[in-house]
Amino acid sequence: MSQSGVGVSQNCINAYQSLKLGKKIKYIIFTLNSDNTEIVVEKESESTNYDEFLADLPEAEPRWAVYDFEFEKEGAGKRNKITFFSWSPDDSKIKQKMLFASSKDALRRSLVGIAAEIQGTDYSEVAYESVLDKVSRGA
């Protein structure tokens, strides 16, 4: 259980499974339901445009996301890494930041097979290059 007591809805796990196994969904955005008791899926997308993914991270509200990150490894062909994002911009309300930070563990633990994790507070930290740099380091 997370440190806030917030739970994870079955939808999140189902959506993640289809991203992992189906290879069709590119990314999932997770958020908290309106009464802050459960983590739910906000959006599933098949778009391969990374900018579109960034546009789905709100400017002043935290979110979590899972992105099926694909990149070229030199001389070794294509690699896929499922990357977990904790998005918490500094301008978010403090209660939201607290809720998301203390509930993250619940979501993170129920998703098996995450290869990399990114904690981002501004768009430079989740930009394609910085994520690529981090993801490819361990490849």
Binding site: S4, D90, Q96, M98, F100, S102, D105, Q119
Partner: protein, 464 residues
Amino acid sequence: MVNYGGDEVAALVLDIGTSSIRVGYAGDDTPKAIIPTTYGYTETDEPSSEPANANADGDVAMAEGEEGGAAGTQSAKKKVKLHIGSNGPSLWRAGMKVNNPVQNGIIQDFEPIPSLISYALEQALRCNPSEHPILVTEPAWNTPANRERMAEILFEEFNVPAFYISNTGVLNAFAAGKGSALVVDIGHSAASVTPVVDGFVMRRGTGSLTYPCISLVDTFSGLAHSALPQLVHAHARHMLTTPSSRRPAIQLYPHQLIAHKQPVDAGVAPKFELRKDRLEGTTDSWKQWYEAKEVDEWIQSVAGILDQGWNEHAANTRGMRHYEFPTGYNNYFSGIERHSVGEQFFTHSPQLIASNPNLPKPIPNLISSSLNACDMEIRQVLLGNIVLTGGGSLFAGFADRLQAELSRIHSHVKIHAPGNPAERRFGGWLGGSILASLGTFHQLWISKEEWQEHGRPIVGQRCK
């Protein structure tokens, strides 16, 4: 499925620090009451039949055990009266001594704690503790025995319905929206660096900690803390009370001891008269405590930190600042004087290091030793998520200087320092306030029934 009654649980949040005790309702953004942790006490020899209770002034009577020893079990009982709260230690009383149960952020003496908590909850907040769940904060280096003792006091003496104890490092990281962060907390007496990873404090090897010396770094874990703020304070005090070519030694008499004074020009010897009637009854401990407050006030008003390393020329260009002491003595303090105080957080002069091998480590060294104890992979994450908190970090220029110092050694340093001073002073309290206000947090509280069934071990099991 548990049915939550929304986010209103009317929980209390209690944050005990070295300089003050912060208490208030969960969900608020600042504590309702802030009372000094330091308490005053007066001793009288005649035994009294008065029951131990708190009266309206916040004075608490407390019978103390037979300290006299062999003399006899019934006779030599000393009656000790505690003076707590904003009208407690800061009011002058004949023969009143002061004491502080918290040293280096940890409660060392539990004897006065129930009285302090009772004052904070019943007098300052005017609430009945048996009706509210209570969340207490603790520093990362708190001992298991200590937190269990706290649970015991609250359950047994205050009858609270539910209890939780949470780490200030984690609360500060969460309040900044970070599951992983390096929390740099500059308190009144201790400066600490706490690596938090995925919501838990990194305690590798969990070396047992002991706290007698003034500076310590637990070499087994990433957790590092030191008495640096005390050194900064001592430096300021030394500078003010040592005569120099520019001015005589400054007397730090508190206003309670001054009968009257006349306005004087800057730098001129003060014209004041002491209250002769009070000098006799003034204890050393009270005088020292109040003089320390005068020094602190001076620091808070005029001291600063240069944002790029020490440089006399740069310090000089910061200009003079005027400050007046309770004696009426007032003067302009130069940029060099003002900034040399804050400089102690970052560098120590070679002479000082040579004369004192146990000097508390400066902040950058604390951070380095903390990082060195952590795994390579997470160091970068921590450096990118430094959370600066604690009232001591409000020194003008602190965050900029830390950024400059760290950028020299590491790449991709990002410091998160809330711009709102209240968020920094009460970071830990605020984090606790949000957490305890969550409806979903209900299931994590240790209830009174659970405490009665499982006893002390449940504290460690539930509050990781």
